[in-house]
C-alpha cells in the first residue's frame, strides 16, 4: 500500500524520486496546490522566473549543461502558451525537459473556462510526448513515464498537463521504480553487421571526414570520438550542436562546417570520399544545396533516431543506435582487426596535406580596425582568458556565429545555444539554468543588443538567486544577421533592423542591482574582460562593436557549401 496523498503532493514526491532538486516556474491559479506543496517541502529549490518562457529556457540550459532533466512548472492558459517557444527550442535540439502545466478542472475542459487552453493540442507537434492527466490514480505512472521518455532514446521535452481537480484529489502514491512502455523501445545497441560495414569503408577510404553532431554530446560520447579520431587519424568537423564534442584546439579539428563554417571544413566535406556522421541530422544550415553536399562521399550515419537517417541525404551505411555504444563497438572492432595506427597515418597523409593547404589559404580571420572593437577579437580574448573553462551561452544571430567560430570549445556541454529553432532570447535565461546547475563554474552569455532585450526581465531572477553570470552584449545597434543578409542579398535596403531606441544597458544593470560597464575601444577589451571575470557578481558588459561587421565565411542560403563568401 502506498501512502494516500493529493495529486499536488504526488507531483512533488515524484520530483524527489527523480532526483530533481531545482525547478523553474511561475505560479498561477491552476497550480496553487502544487505551489502549496512546494512551500511545505524541503530540498526542492524553486526558481521564480519573471516570464514562463524564461522558465523553459532555464530548465533547458540546466539540462544542456548538466545532462540531467530540467523541469519547469507553470499555470494554465497564458502560463502554458508562454512556454511554447521554450518547448520548441528544446525539441529541435533534443534536450530532455519536463514541463508541468496547470489546467482547469476536468469538468470545465472544453468549456472555454478562465485561463483554459488546449495545452496538449498546442504542444503536440513540439514535444516528444505529452499527457493530460484525467485521474489522480494515473499520476504516478504518467510522471514516471514523462521523465523516462524525456531522458531516454533521442531525448526531448515532455509535457504533463495537470487539471486542478486532479491536483486536489487524493489517491494512493505508488511510484514505479521502473517503467516499461510497450510502444516505446529505443534502439541503443547497433547492428554489428553495420559496424563491420562501416569499418570496411573506413579502412578503404582515402579522404575521410568525421562529422560530429549534438548526439555525441547528449550520449556522452566525446571520449570515444576522440579515441576514434586519433586512432584513425581522421579530420573532425562539428555541427553547431556538436561543438565541444571534440576539442576545438585539437590539431585534427577542422572546427564547424556549414553556412558559417570554416573554409577548410566545408572544402574537406565537399572533397571527401567517406563521411562518418555521428549524432548529426544534416540540417540545411549544414548541407547547403543538397546535391552538392559531399558529392563524392560514401556516408556512414550513426543516430539513435531512425527518422534522422535517409531524411535529407542518402546514406550508404545506416547505423541505428546510441552514439556512444556504436562508437565503442566500432573501436572494439578496430582493435580486434588490429591495423596499426601507422597504417591510417600513412594512408591519409596526402589528404591531410591537402587539408593543411586549405587551412593556410583561408584560416578564420577578420580585419582589425583601430577605431572599432571587432566582435571576433572579444571572443578570441575571452577564449584566451578562460582557456575553454567556461560555460558559454549564446543568443541567436551574429553573436552566436562569432562565438561558434572564435571560441574553441574544448569540452562537451560548454556551449549552450539554440541551434535548430534559432531562438533569440534563449541565451540569458539558459545561462540562469546553467549557473544553477553548475554553481562553481564560470557562466557567460554572449548576447546581441537585439536578443538580450527578448528576455531581459530575467535579470531579476538572476539577481534573486545571486548568480554571477557575465552578460557580454556585442552591441552593433542592429539586428546584425538580418542586416548582413540585407547588405549582401537585398542591396543594402536595411528594412526594420535598426532600433531607434536602444536602452542604456549599463543603467539597466544598475537598476537591477547588477554591475554595468561599457567599452568602445579595442584597447579596453582585455583589461575589462579580466576585470569582469574576477567579479563575483552579475555583470552586463556593453561592448560597442563595429556596426557593420559581418560573419564570414558565409554560404548563401541554397548554395553549395563550396560557394563561400570569404572575408
Amino acid at each position: 500500500m502506498g501512502e494516500i496523498m493529493t495529486g499536488a503532493k504526488m507531483v512533488v514526491e515524484a520530483l524527489k524520486r527523480e532526483g530533481v532538486e531545482i525547478i523553474f516556474g511561475y505560479p498561477g491559479g491552476a497550480v496553487i496546490d502544487i505551489y502549496d506543496e512546494i512551500y511545505k517541502t524541503e530540498n526542492l529549490h524553486h526558481v521564480l522566473v519573471r516570464h514562463e518562457q524564461g522558465a523553459t529556457h532555464a530548465a533547458d540550459g540546466f539540462a544542456r549543461s548538466t545532462g540531467k532533466v530540467g523541469v519547469a512548472l507553470v499555470t494554465s492558459g497564458p502560463g502554458a502558451t508562454n512556454t511554447v517557444t521554450g518547448i520548441a527550442t528544446a525539441y529541435m535540439d533534443s534536450i530532455p525537459i519536463v514541463v508541468l502545466t496547470g489546467q482547469v478542472p476536468t469538468k470545465l475542459i472544453g468549456n472555454d473556462a478562465f485561463q483554459e487552453v488546449d495545452t496538449t493540442g498546442i504542444t503536440r507537434p513540439i514535444t516528444k510526448h505529452n499527457f493530460l492527466v484525467k485521474k489522480v490514480e494515473d499520476l504516478p505512472r504518467i510522471l514516471k513515464a514523462a521523465f523516462h521518455i524525456a531522458r531516454t532514446g533521442r531525448p526531448g521535452p515532455v509535457l504533463v498537463d495537470l487539471p486542478k481537480d486532479v491536483q486536489q484529489a487524493k489517491g494512493e502514491f505508488n511510484y514505479p521504480e521502473e517503467i516499461h512502455l510497450r510502444s516505446y523501445n529505443p534502439t541503443y545497441e547497433p547492428h554489428i553487421k553495420q559496424i563491420e560495414k562501416a569499418y570496411q569503408l573506413l579502412e578503404k577510404a582515402e579522404r575521410p571526414v568525421f562529422l560530429v553532431g549534438g548526439g555525441v554530446i547528449s550520449s556522452g560520447a566525446s571520449e570515444e570520438v576522440r579515441e576514434l579520431a586519433e586512432r584513425l587519424n581522421l579530420p573532425v568537423t562539428m555541427t553547431l550542436m556538436g561543438l565541444g564534442g571534440f576539442p576545438g584546439d585539437h590539431p585534427q579539428s577542422l572546427a564547424m562546417l556549414g553556412m558559417h563554417g570554416t573554409y577548410y571544413a566545408n572544402m574537406a566535406v565537399a572533397n571527401c570520399d567517406l563521411l562518418l556522421a555521428v549524432g548529426a541530422r544534416f540540417d540545411d544550415r549544414v548541407t547547403g544545396r543538397l546535391d552538392a553536399f559531399a558529392p563524392f562521399a560514401k556516408i556512414i550515419h550513426i543516430d539513435i533516431d531512425p527518422t534522422s537517417i535517409q531524411k535529407n541525404v542518402k546514406v550508404d551505411v545506416p547505423i541505428v543506435g546510441d552514439c556512444k555504444r556504436s562508437l565503442q563497438r566500432l573501436l572494439e572492432l578496430i582493435k580486434e582487426v588490429g591495423k596499426p595506427k601507422k597504417y591510417f597515418k600513412e594512408r591519409f597523409s596526402d589528404w591531410w596535406a591537402q587539408i593543411e593547404i586549405w587551412k593556410k589559404r583561408y584560416p578564420l580571420s577578420y580585419k582589425e580596425d583601430p577605431n572599432y572593437i571587432k566582435p571576433q577579437y572579444v571572443i578570441e580574448k575571452l577564449y584566451e582568458l578562460t582557456q575553454g573553462n567556461a560555460i558559454i551561452c549564446t543568443e541567436v544571430g551574429q553573436n552566436q556565429m562569432w562565438t561558434a567560430q572564435f571560441y574553441k570549445f574544448k569540452y562537451p556541454r560548454t556551449l549552450i545555444s539554440s541551434g535548430g529553432l534559432g531562438t533569440m532570447g534563449f541565451g540569458f535565461p539558459a545561462s540562469i539554468g546553467a549557473q544553477m546547475g553548475n554553481p562553481d563554474k564560470l557562466v557567460i552569455d554572449i548576447a546581441g543588443d537585439g536578443s538580450i532585450q527578448m528576455n531581459i526581465q530575467e535579470l531579476a531572477t538572476a539577481m534573486d538567486q545571486r548568480l554571477p553570470i557575465k552578460i557580454i552584449i556585442l552591441n552593433n545597434g542592429y539586428l546584425g544577421m538580418v542586416r548582413q543578409w540585407q547588405e549582401l542579398f537585398y542591396e543594402k535596403r536595411y528594412s526594420a533592423v535598426k532600433f531607434a531606441t536602444l536602452p542604456d544597458f549599463v543603467k539597466i544593470a544598475e537598476a537591477y542591482g547588477a554591475v554595468g560597464m561599457r567599452i568602445t575601444k579595442p584597447q579596453e577589451v582585455e583589461p575589462t574582460l579580466k576585470k569582469i571575470l574576477s567579479l563575483d557578481k552579475l555583470v552586463i558588459l556593453d561592448v560597442i562593436i563595429a556596426p557593420e561587421e559581418g560573419v564570414f565565411p558565409m554560404v548563401p542560403a541554397g548554395k553549395a557549401t563550396t560557394e563561400m563568401i570569404l572575408v
Binding site: H129, L181, R182, S183
Partner: protein, 165 residues
C-alpha cells in the same frame, strides 16, 4: 523516383490524442492521406488504423519511421510491400430509382452482388463491398441513373497468411 500507393496497417495505443498525433504528423510534415479508417481491436487497449498514402520510396520510408517514432504507435506494417494482401472498402450509394431505371439498377445489383439496404418509391440505398476497382466500376455504372449521395469507408487491408507447404 516514382510515386506509389501505400497501405499501412498501424496499431496504436487506444489513448485520447493518439489519432490527433498521427493526423498532425501527416499535416505537419506535408505527407498525404488518401484515406484513414480507425476502429478498436480485440485488445481494447489498442486501436487499429488503416492508412492509405502516396509517395516515392524515400517518402514512404520516412512516413513509416515517423509513425514508429510516435510514443503511442505500437506497430506499423506496410501491407502493400508484398503482393499478397486483401484490400476491401465499403460504400453506401443513394441512387435515384424511379420507374424507368429501377429494373436496370436491380440488374446491376445482381451482376455485382450488391445489396439494396433501403428502398423508397424514388431511391435505393445500395451497399457495395469490394476492392477499389469494383467500387469504381459500380459508381461509374450508377452515375447515369443519378447518384444522390455516396459515403465510403476508406480502405481496410490485411496481409494473407503464408501458404503452408
Amino acid at each position: 523516383m516514382s510515386e506509389r500507393k501505400c497501405t499501412l496497417s498501424v496499431l496504436v495505443e487506444n489513448t485520447p490524442g493518439a489519432l490527433a498525433r498521427i493526423a498532425g504528423l501527416f499535416s505537419g510534415r506535408g505527407f498525404n492521406i488518401d484515406s484513414l479508417c480507425v476502429a478498436e481491436t480485440l485488445d481494447p487497449t489498442l486501436s487499429h488504423l488503416t492508412l492509405v498514402t502516396r509517395g516515392d520510396d524515400q517518402i514512404i520510408e520516412q512516413i513509416i519511421k515517423q509513425l514508429r517514432r510516435l510514443i503511442d504507435v505500437y506497430k506499423v506494417v506496410d501491407v502493400t510491400e508484398e503482393e499478397d494482401y486483401v484490400e476491401r472498402e465499403m460504400a453506401l450509394i443513394k441512387v435515384r430509382a424511379e420507374k424507368e431505371n429501377r429494373e436496370e439498377i436491380f440488374r446491376i445489383c445482381e451482376i455485382f452482388r450488391l445489396k439494396i439496404v433501403d428502398v423508397t418509391p424514388r431511391t435505393y440505398i445500395i451497399e457495395v463491398t469490394g476492392d477499389k476497382n469494383k467500387l469504381e466500376a459500380v459508381i461509374e455504372l450508377l452515375q447515369p441513373m443519378g447518384i444522390k449521395e455516396i459515403v465510403r469507408t476508406g480502405t481496410i487491408a490485411m496481409k494473407r497468411e503464408k501458404k503452408s507447404t
